[in-house]
Amino acid sequence: MTMRRFRKWCRTFHRELGYLAVGLTLVYAVSGIVVNHAHHWDANYERTAAVLSIAPPGTGATEEIEPLVLQRLALDRPVKNTWRAGPELLQVFLEGEGYDVNLVTGEVVHHAFRKRPLLFDLNFMHLNSGKGPWTGIADAYAGILVVMAVTGPWLVRGRKGLKGRGGLLMGLGIMLPFVYAFLVRGGG
């Protein structure tokens, strides 16, 4: 195969796969930034907590206290479960929310959470939480990225190509992870 023909193949693959990869690249890029900062915020859920109060139900037996608490909370949604976490604490669990009830003071902390629109789904795909068919899709995407990385350097000739600025930038990009690994892990 001549060099000219090879470049033509590279351009074709790079262009077609590039179009195909746009959506997935955005999914992985946006989610990548989000999950990189998972220690700063909850990337998947919005959480709220509010303090309320009810008349203190006392610390009697759970079977006596539980109906009292439920009645005083005046819930209009089905309760999934309750849990006597301690002598003074009863927890009430509902779909997407819950109540921590201090049985002595009557102070109630209402916790609620909901999925962050779009971000939850992006992270779900990025982290392959659902496994199944997404494993194949993600593997195929990784393959596409490899093809694009291999074909990309051959697209342009001359000063802006591999023999010029392009080669320099490519070298820098390849060195970056090695330098980082060396500096952070001490080369060990």
Partner: protein, 159 residues
């Protein structure tokens, strides 16, 4: 153009089929459960050293989930106030907060971790903070052993 349409259509079919199949069945996390018998959490906690290194299966209500990475759940015991923690490898299994309040069947190896005095003090301080109690470091005089299930899988019962 035709190829793109076929690809897009296949992609949508795969996604919608996946969602439809994910209906109201029990939800399996990790390797699920395979041990024959369920151990009562109260039995585990009554004689924790007898179970170290053994694969155990427990059943109870999920009463807490790691808010950070979904890497652990607290499972309620059959005895009030007691819980046991199922810790899984970060990112390998991710428990969502939706399972709090659901019945969980969980499995893994019962482990004991001897904590240092510093770690013990940190845990006691965190517990006191959660319970709104005062904490005095000097009251901690011995190191704590942290028992938990190193989880391999779980099944959350269908709602």
């Amino acid at each position: 153009m035709r190829i793109s349409l076929v690809l897009l259509l296949s992609f949508l079919i795969v996604l919608t089929t996946g969602n439809a199949l994910a209906g109201d069945a029990d939800k399996v996390y990790g390797e699920g459960v395979s041990a024959a018998d369920t151990v009562l959490v109260s039995d585990l906690l009554a004689s924790p050293d007898d179970f170290i290194g053994k694969t155990v299966r427990v059943k109870g209500t999920a009463v807490g989930v790691c808010a950070h990475r979904g890497c652990w759940i607290n499972i309620a015991s059959d005895t009030e106030g007691q819980t046991v923690r199922l810790k899984v490898q970060d990112g390998v299994i991710v428990f969502p907060p939706e399972i709090v309040g659901d019945t969980v069947l969980a499995e893994g190896v019962w482990t004991a971790n001897e904590l240092s005095m510093e770690q013990t003090k940190k845990i006691c301080a965190a517990q006191a903070r959660e319970e709104g109690k005062d904490f005095d470091e000097k009251e901690v005089t011995s190191c704590m052993t942290l028992y938990q299930i190193s989880g391999t899988g779980a099944v959350v019962a269908a709602k």
